[in-house]
Amino acid sequence: MIPTKRKESAEIIHTGQLAADVYEMILKTELASHAVAGQFVAVYTKDASRLLPRPISICETDHEKKTLRLVYRILGAGTKEFSTYQTGQKAELLGTLGNGYPLEPAKGKKILLLGGGIGIPPLLELAKCLQGEKVTIVLGYRDNQMFLKEDFEHYGNVYVATEDGSAGQQGNVFDALEKSEDINKLNHDIIYSCGPMPMLRAVKRYAKEKNIPAYLSMEERMACGIGACLGCVCKTVHKDLHSHVYNARICTEGPVFLAEDVAILPEEQNAGEEITCGRK
């Protein structure tokens, strides 16, 4: 049996640029055969001075063709290196990592997908998996370079917000939500989200107010990617079953969490401290 997690060298079968600093690469790999929406892979740079692999969410999976599509933003030297890769080259990756978005809770529900910036890509595979359900998609971009927007249009109604107001609603995904009568009338009963932390906090608040479940995909600096180093933890509301403290590993218990389980709001920042740091 081929292990579901492994490091391998995968052939790059396509590369492209989707926006000013947003790129894609499609990799041919057996890892695709069991990848699920919301999981990620960790990609190593070829420059050995940069040790750690870069965690990148899976944008799309083709189980038959055994391909993974990765869409990433250039955030530093590592991702800059990835953007120079050409079709036919190989990429070293560790995968597939983490737990994806659970699909079961969405069955028969009115679903809202909220994606912000480079948090948008993993929602595409999710949208694909939710075909047949009622899906509304709200995407927040910096400007009118709306990468992946057309891909999303195959799977639901897409609403857009841009920070500079150059397309769609000016502002963020919540500005689009609040100002659009159409979206509000739908009375969504479940949210799936990925985006920057301020947005995830707002999603948590919004879901709480509406009393509906929200799944968030979290991000943190990682080292091992497989749950050994405890580098990428997030605070939790309940004591985590593995760590036995109020911390969960984003790479292993996550990256997708139920909003009510993660302590991301300022008022939750001291959750559990008095219990787990008894000797402080």
Partner: protein
């Protein structure tokens, strides 16, 4: 050819171990590595009670290495005994438990809990640079190290490895203090205290400001310190610091280490440990070496 080594009466099938904190309790790496192939699994630090660790970011990459400031997050000895040790007992390898504490009593409590277990040895962490109390406070002054080593020896029936910090003036003096207090072995080096600043944001990258530097960047420092420690003491040494491959591991052995541990490079190559086990065998065959013992400390004046 014989790759077995012996430390304080405990036989290890080969000299390749995992460095504490980089391998969890072995569970996380079993999908990549046959744990039976390793000389020993050295666990993540275990305290008497669960520790939350530091805020994030806990990780920063630097040239040829990484900084970590995990802060010894761990589920405590109770969970270790109920969950992690039974897991490790399924494998034909040795378990070395890394023990951390904020006070002398914390260390003693964990050591006593491990007395009647299958654990082969304890590695006492007096060198973690990322926690405010305990840990490194016991490992940066020779008299403090001597004292805590002696106290733990009084309460533990397992052989004791003292894990030394490189953040000291004279590593030989520290090694001698551990040996004089009755340590059965020493391991070195723990991470070097470092810092990274985000120039664009004009902020510290790590929430803890400082972190422990590991990876290939520190290897020459580690090899030098293992060599110096080997000149200073007779007790066995477990060498570590940026070991990525067989050649790196042999460097430590030739400098005087009886065993080696792979740390940060597990993150780069999750198969590194088993590759090194095979690589050492191939090296021994190529150099017609019957006993690995012949290589330990083979390079000296």
């Amino acid at each position: 050819m014989r790759t077995e080594i012996k430390i304080a009466g405990v036989t290890f099938k080969n000299p390749v171990m995992t460095a504490s904190g980089t391998f969890g309790s072995g569970m996380e790496y079993q999908e990549f590595v046959d744990l039976n192939a390793l000389g020993a699994v050295v666990t993540k630090g275990v305290a008497n009670i669960p520790w939350t660790g530091n805020p994030t970011p806990r990780i920063a990459e630097v040239y040829g290495g990484m900084l970590n400031a995990i802060g010894l997050q761990n589920p405590g000895i109770e969970v270790f005994l109920e969950r992690d040790l039974p897991f490790l007992e399924q494998f034909d390898t040795r378990t070395i438990v890394n023990v951390c504490g904020k006070s002398e009593q914390d260390y003693i409590e964990v050591a006593e809990r491990l007395n009647d277990t299958s654990v082969a040895m304890l590695e006492i962490n007096v060198s973690c640079p990322n926690v405010k109390e305990g840990a490194i406070a016991f490992g940066q002054k020779a008299d403090a190290l001597y004292h805590i080593t002696g106290e733990i020896k009084k309460h533990s029936r397992k052989p004791i490895i003292m894990k030394l910090s490189p953040n000291v003036t004279d590593i030989g003096e520290m090694a001698r203090a551990a040996e004089a207090a009755g340590a059965d072995a020493i391991s070195l080096i723990n991470t070097l205290t470092g810092m990274k600043i985000d120039v664009e944001r004009q902020k510290f990258v790590l929430a803890n400001k400082t972190g422990g530097l590991s990876g290939p960047a520190i290897r020459p420092v580690a090899v030098r310190m293992v060599y110096q420690a080997a000149q200073a003491v007779k007790i066995p040494i477990i060498g570590m610091g940026g070991i990525a491959d067989t050649e790196d591991a042999l460097e430590f052995i030739l400098a005087g280490a009886s065993a080696v541990a792979v740390g940060a490079m597990n993150f780069v190559d999750p198969y590194a440990t088993v590759k090194i086990v095979k690589g050492i065998e191939a090296y021994m065959a190529r150099h017609h070496i019957e006993e690995i013992q012949e290589l330990i400390g083979a390079v000296h004046e």
